[in-house]
Structure formats: C-alpha cells, structure tokens
C-alpha cells in the first residue's frame, strides 16, 4: 500500500511538472525596468482629450490658437549614473497625445537600482534618422518624403489659430530634420533633453512633461500669421523650432 501511495505521489508530480508553464519560476530581479509617462500641458494647465479642438490658448505672441493633433517621437532614453556609466535600450516611442497612444512607455533595458541622470532625444538623431528604416513608423505615415530630406517626423503639432478673419486659419507645426532643398543639405535639428536626476528602485515611474506653450516662446516668439504651414521645407523655421524645443520638456512626478 505504501508503494502504491509513493507511486501515486511520484506520478502526480509528473502530471504537475509536465503541465507547468515556463513562467512559473520566480527569481529576484537583479536589474529593473523604468516606466515613463508622457504628459502635456499649456503653461502648467494639463491638456486632456477634451481640450483638443475646444480649449483656446493664447500664445506668447498674443494669438489665440487651439490644438487638434499632438504626436511626437522620442528616442534613446538614457540613464547615466554617477560614474558616467550609461544604459540605454536605444529604442523609440511615438506618442499620440490626443488619444493617449503610447503615453506610457517602458524602455527595453534593465538597469541596477540607484541614482541616474535621465535624458532622451527629441526625434531621431542623425544615426537613427534613416529613411524607411522602421516599418511601424513608416506604416503610421510618420516618414518624411525624400525631397524634404527623408527620415521621419519628430513632431506633428496641428490646430487652428485666429488670423483676424471670420473663420480660423490652420497651422501645422511639424518638426523634422532641417533640410535645405536648394542645396540638399541636411542639418540635425533633433536635440537631447536632460530631464534631471531620478532615483531608480524596483517600481519607478517617471513623468515627462511637455509644456506646449514653450514651442511658441523662447528664444523665438512665434507668429502663426507668418509661420503656419509648409514649415517642413522651411530650413530656418526648423532651426527656430529646434531652438524653442529645448525648454519644452521637464521632469514631472517620480513615483516608486
């Protein structure tokens, strides 16, 4: 009887082991992922879905405007510790703020817990801004046509503004790599954003805030009556937008 009981125990364990998922084993993580949440505001007032096309914002030039679309690309989120050691998945994230697509993003890299300076690239740097290199972005019609320099958009900020006529006018504030169409000369207008120091523990979430009003202020006060569309092929406009972008992002809440 004991033999039968022993046999049953062994056999049942075979059944259990046979059907066990690979995921059942747990180990103590040595390294951790860090989650990011991208939020948007206008001079400190959060922009929610309900604000698109409805809330009127007054920009630094005194022009009333609304926002219809706000899509932007960030890449190469990098964690640098006090010894100068850097960690990066070298991946990218295309955020569609209006519908909340990809506002939460976790880079595919695990890092030791500790203190880091966190940075990322707005858009793609020259190394990564390769024409048609990313099928998901190409499929999302995020590419830039070859005659405009190729590669990918960095941002599509679109909406309407009051141009003094009875009906609002449209604007399409699109940022890409600057490209001189006359000489076919590109200029990298992506830029690195250092959002600050973050203590990384096992469940860290970092908020990255975009103040949309900053795109229209500093150092170039933006006059939508002059610069509202066809900006991708406007080399100088791209330089100005890149300059304005450097004060757009900031570190928000860090939760553990």
């Amino acid at each position: 009887m004991k033999k039968i009981a022993l046999f049953l125990a062994v056999a049942i364990s075979i059944v259990v082991v046979s059907c066990k998922s690979d995921d059942d084993t747990t180990t103590t993580p040595q390294n951790v992922n860090v989650a990011f949440t991208f939020t948007q505001n206008w001079d400190g007032n959060n922009i929610t879905n309900a604000d698109y096309e409805t809330t009127v914002y007054t920009n630094a030039h005194g022009t009333d405007q609304t926002i219809s679309k706000l899509d932007y690309l960030i890449s190469d989120i990098t964690f640098t510790n006090s010894t100068g050691q850097s960690f990066s998945a070298e991946d990218y994230n295309l955020i569609s703020a209006r519908n909340g697509t990809n506002v939460n993003f976790t880079p595919d890299v695990q890092i030791p817990t500790g203190d880091y300076v966190v940075s990322f690239t707005f858009g793609f740097d020259e190394e990564d801004n390769v024409d048609a290199a990313y099928p998901d972005l190409t499929s999302a019609t995020w590419g830039v046509p070859t005659p405009l320099g190729g590669g990918y958009h960095y941002m599509r900020l679109e909406g309407k503004f009051d141009d003094g006529t009875p009906t609002p006018a449209n604007y399409a504030y699109h940022t890409i790599r600057a490209f001189n169409t006359a000489t076919s000369t590109p200029f990298d207008t992506s830029f690195e954003v250092t959002i600050g120091s973050v203590t990384v523990s096992e469940n860290t979430n970092v908020e990255v805030k975009m103040d949309v009003s900053e795109w229209f202020i500093n150092p170039n006060e933006w006059d939508l009556n002059v610069l509202n569309s066809a900006l991708m092929m406007n080399y100088n406009a791209q330089l100005m937008m890149s300059q304005n972008g450097t004060t757009v992002f900031s570190l928000g809440a860090v939760t553990q």
Partner: protein
Amino acid sequence: MRYGVLICLLLSIVFTSCKKDDEYIATPMPLSIPQLFAEKLSPPIIPGDNPQTREGIALGRKLFYDPILSGDGTQACASCHNPQNAFSDERRFSIGIDGLEGNRNSMPLFNMAWNFSEDFFWDGRAKGLENQALEPVTNPIEMHNTWEQATVSLQATSDYPLLFSNAFGTENISKELVVKAISQFTRTLISSNSKFDKHLAGEAELTTSEANGLAVFLDESRGDCFHCHGDPNTPIWTDNTFHNNGLDETITDRGLGAFTGDPRDFGLFKSPSLRNLAFTAPYMHDGRFQTLDEVINHYSEGLVYSETIDPLMKTISEGGVHLSENDKADLKAFLLSLSDPSFINNPDFQDPN
C-alpha cells in the same frame, strides 16, 4: 500487473492534461506579401483565429460572388464591389435589393490586411475585416437579409456544407464562419503592380509629367498629399485615418462623428488609398466627383471651411493653394501611375461560380 495498469492510466492523464483541443486545420495558404510591402511596412494583420487557408479562401471567393447571401437571392458582395472597378462601384451610390439607394460610394477593396488601425467603412464603424463583412448582409438598404436566413439558405444547398467542412472542419454554417471565409478571400486582394511599383523596382521609368506630379504630391506648399496618403515608402497610399477635407460648409453626413458621437468627428471620413484611381470613379465618400480633375480642382481651389476641417488643408479662405494648370495635369498623371491593371484582371479574384 496492477502497476502496469496504473502506469497506463497515469500516463494517459499526463497526455490528456496537456493536450490542446483537437482542431481541424485546413491547408495553410499564407498571404503572398509583395516585396515592397515586406521591406517597408509592418506585417499584414491576420487574426489569430482566422488564418489564411486554401479552402477558406476558395470558399470566401465563392461566397463573395454568390447572391445567396441577400434577402431575395439577387445580390452578391460583388454586385457593389466589381473587380473591374477595383472592387468598387461605378455608380455614385449602390442600389440594394429593394431598389433603395445608399448615401456613400462603395469603397474599393484591396490591401486591406495593411489597414493597421483596423477601422473599416468610410466612417470607421467596423473594427476588423470580419466585423466589416457582417454588416452588408443585414443592412436594409443593401442585401436586406437576416443572418439566420442567410445561413439557413447556405445550409440547404448541396455544396456549401461540405465546403465549410473543408474550410473549418464543420458543416454547421454560422455567420461567424461566413465572414471568416469572405475575409480570407478579401485579404488576398492585393494590389502591388502599378507602373509606379515597377518604377520603384527599377523596371519602369516615369514620364516627365509623372515625375513632376510626384514632386507636386510631395511638396508641402503645393499638393501636400503625403500627410494623408503617404509617400513612395508607404505603398498602401493611405494613412487609413479620418479627415474633414473641406468639402462642405455645413456637415450633413457626420461620418466618423455619427459613429463616435463626438462633434469633433463630424464630417470626418477615412482617407482612401490612391491606388487604382483609374478604376474607382466616382470619388469621395459620397461619389460627388466624377473625374480626377474635379478632385484636384477641389483641393486646389474648392476648399470650404467648417469647424472640423483638417489643419492640413491650406489657405482655406482662398479655397486652396491654387495649383498651376501644369501642376494639376502632372499630379493627375502621377496619380494614374498608381493604378494596377493586373489587379483588376487577376484571374484569382474573378467570379468562380
């Protein structure tokens, strides 16, 4: 001996515990993905519960052309989706079995597995191709049938039960299996052999007019067509999203907004692909334009303001960017280079009945 029986019993438990349900699997027949699509785009969307099979595609093709799905047995999917019109309808509005006219132009059907949003119809009201295929059968101004009656009709035939058995492993015909089969067929409707495709493959040269037309298309200050329809890197030639392209000052057909209920979506319609325009007249969601010239004139000087007009529409107060007559002609020449005669004549897509 007792242990032997016990071992057999327990081993059977081991295998039974881990065994998946028996599933009938027809002959796999993956989509033939054009090289350009494979190089540039994300993989096509094939639902995990509806893989492409030889038997499923053949059944779907037969169903697509069979009027048995309609209420009085007079209309098939193909009645309003004619292969010679790139599976669209040359009539402005299709007419259903009761003689009633719709209010939207029949959408052409091709490259639908690359609709990454999976929003179908001009107003995006169906999520996924299978769900799209559910609707026309019961739509009172289209096939005006019930799914119960449609499946009863199919079940009563001499051939369909066996064809469903071959495709899905059961002779019990359901609406779910009908739309799975139709979707398998319509996913095979791939168009990738236009003159412009050949140009990209180094097999054809564009004329001067076509090349200039491409330049107009990609020029932000002239055509600026690429923001909604893509560029040579996006061979589906649509963003598959929704826009108000300045057709009407007063929105009467709410489009996407009728489905979402959001006033910000009023008057928004899906960007159609620019492939096969040579075969898909009339144009726009309501087929209001008979010719490509009318379409180009609209964007050039016919834009009108409404609250939800897309910000990509330029200089609306002047009606548009006012293309030169040469640019208009060249743009038209380029657009026509995206048409694919081999698609509409592909024998695999024709009526098998």
